[in-house]
């Protein structure tokens, strides 16, 4: 037990290990803080955090000590620097895109949606990006900037459960991004926790009603992050973890067999120090070594996560005259009833020369 305490204490008591953990988890904390900042309207803070994240994600991360440990039989996947699974990386770009649009840089917003779409696609499994909003917004910005967004609109509509998607209103000057529910939760499944799985998100909210000075808009979910987390196919890392699990299982079984055989031989030798005893001892030692190797193998999947993501994303655009405006956001349950205590008041100013961006969430953190 003393040994176990010693082992358990090392992560926190060893300042070097703690510093390493802080560094490799940095992006996870940035993500979480950025989502909270977005919901609290602290857009400058969110911008700084997401700039950091987007810069990190745009680098091509090759082997380092963390990735080598994550790949090795005796290292844990969580020893790699956290970047998140594709659905998490996509959301970093998605939020940053909203902020670029807010700053009056829709082309940089589109760049974020395009990068996110590249992250979501996986050519190894022949999956293309299937986020509705990434394509829809790519096309919308393109149309607003005088280009042809029809191809992106068609891609979005193909993947959308809501058909038809609204045509692009190039004269709309207020764009509204909404989100609701709590996103998927990672957990480790399998005999050794080597399989990364997701619990569905949950949301009592099924749609949203936005009312702005007489205009009433019904917004339904356009993207579901649980669907996105679970439909991209397996990871290369899953194969690595699977191999680690096979190693762990095989060495454990081999260790058991060697210990049983060795013990039986020693017992049969009656302590006469004959050949049977020596072979038995050898098998016993080999079995112990095999068991130690098995115990040291760490196939557990990395379940660090951006835990405060929403389940659903939605979007709309409307035309408003320049100047200050007010409105309300109501969150509706499955039967279309307003869920009390979640209503949001909107106070915003429409700019004369660029789009005004509104962001709302049913979450506060």
């Amino acid at each position: 037990m003393a040994l176990l305490f010693a082992a358990g204490g090392c992560a926190t008591d060893n300042p070097k290990a703690a510093a390493q953990r802080t560094e490799r988890d940095k992006l996870m904390w940035d993500y979480r803080k950025a989502a909270t900042a977005m919901r609290q309207g602290n857009f400058d803070e969110a911008r700084a955090l997401l700039d950091d994240a987007v810069t990190t994600l745009n680098a091509v991360r090759t082997a380092d000590s963390g990735t080598r440990k994550a790949r090795s039989l005796f290292g844990r996947e969580e020893q790699k620097t956290f970047l998140g699974e594709p659905y998490e990386r996509v959301m970093a770009f998605y939020y940053r895109g909203i902020l670029y649009w807010m700053q009056g840089e829709p082309d940089n917003a589109r760049a974020c949606y395009r990068s996110a779409a590249v992250i979501d696609g996986d050519p190894e499994k022949k999956y293309g990006s299937d986020y509705v909003l990434l394509d829809y917004l790519d096309g919308y910005v393109t149309a607003k900037l005088g280009g042809d967004g029809s191809e992106a609109h068609a891609r979005a509509e193909k993947n959308s459960a809501q058909k038809p998607l609204p045509p692009y209103d190039k004269s709309a000057n207020v764009v509204v991004f909404g989100e609701f529910g709590r996103g998927p939760t990672k957990f480790a499944a399998g005999r050794y926790g080597e399989q990364l799985k997701f619990l569905p998100g949950n949301s009592i909210i099924h749609s949203v009603r936005v009312t702005v000075e007489g205009q009433q808009l019904a917004l339904k979910p356009l993207d579901d992050l649980y669907f996105q987390a679970t439909t991209r196919g397996g990871r290369v890392m899953d194969h690595i973890l699977g191999n680690k699990a096979v190693f762990k299982s095989t060495t454990d079984a081999a260790g058991n067999a060697a210990i049983i055989a060795g013990s039986a031989l020693i017992a049969g030798g009656s302590g006469s120090r004959g050949a049977a005893d020596e072979v038995g001892l050898g098998l016993l030692l080999a079995g112990l070594v095999s068991k130690v190797a098995s115990s040291a193998a760490t196939p557990e999947a990395d379940t660090r996560q951006w835990y405060n993501l929403p389940q659903y994303l939605t979007f709309t655009a409307l035309r408003m005259p320049p100047g200050p405006h007010t409105g309300t956001v109501e969150f509706l349950n499955a039967t279309g009833q307003v869920v009390p205590n979640l209503n949001k008041q909107l106070n915003f100013t429409v700019y004369p020369d660029r789009d005004t961006v509104i962001f709302f969430s049913d979450q506060n953190q």
Binding site: K16, N58, A59, V60, A70, K80, R110, S115, I240, A264
Partner: protein, 211 residues
């Protein structure tokens, strides 16, 4: 004897835990002191790299564009230095960028190399300039010339740029091609008097743990 095996197995497990536990506390941390700040030239590829738009690309592109602009007859042989206004670069790639940085660098390059052969108009500061002029007109601050005379200059040329990209993602990695085009338009005639391009392609493959 067989009945004793579970205790042997537990012992082994405890040994393994002890080994892994002590290993964690005593194993050497790779690069524990971090990497000291390394000063690099802006046109060098750093040890942190992506397939997107980076400083070395911007330097290569802006230097090429500045050289091109200086070589055209409308600039090289102009009787009076032509006035150029800058328009923000249009970004059609998948990489969010600081759009002003390209034109800022081209402007600085031209000023440093053109020796007064071109003049740029500071349209970014128009609001502040108008405010200052208004203060002069209302007598709230002194003026060295008659503030009621319109002295803000019009541009002879407009410099614009566009970044376009193409991405390929395959099992072998991600490849990004970026085309940079810049052009100079005569404001009076709408003729494009100069246009040039630069293209950069990069590819890379992430470590398997991120795929």
């Amino acid at each position: 004897m067989i009945m004793k095996l579970p205790s042997l197995s537990n012992l082994t497990l405890c040994s393994a835990l002890a080994l892994t536990g002590f290993g964690c506390a005593t194993s050497g941390v790779k690069n524990p002191s971090g990497t000291p700040v390394t000063e690099m030239k802006a046109d060098e590829r750093g040890f942190v790299a992506g397939t997107g738009i980076e400083s070395q690309d911007m330097l290569a592109v802006t230097e090429k564009m500045a050289r091109g602009i200086l070589s055209i007859p409308q600039i090289a042989h102009a009787a009076t230095p032509p006035r150029i206004a800058l328009e923000p670069v249009k970004n059609e790639t998948r990489f969010p960028i600081n759009k002003d940085i390209f034109l800022t660098r081209i402007r600085v390059q031209l000023y440093s190399k053109a020796a007064g052969r071109v003049v740029f108009l500071d349209r970014e500061q128009m609001q502040a300039l108008e405010r200052e002029r208004e203060l002069k007109r209302t007598g709230q601050v002194t003026a060295s010339s008659d503030p009621s005379v319109q002295e803000f200059k019009g541009a002879d040329f407009l410099l614009t740029g566009k970044l376009q990209g193409m991405t390929t993602k395959a099992a072998a990695g991600t490849s990004d091609y970026v085309l940079y085009t810049f052009r100079l338009t005569d404001n009076r005639t709408s003729e494009i008097v100069w246009e040039d391009q630069a293209e950069i392609k990069k590819q890379g493959l992430e470590d398997a743990v991120y795929r």
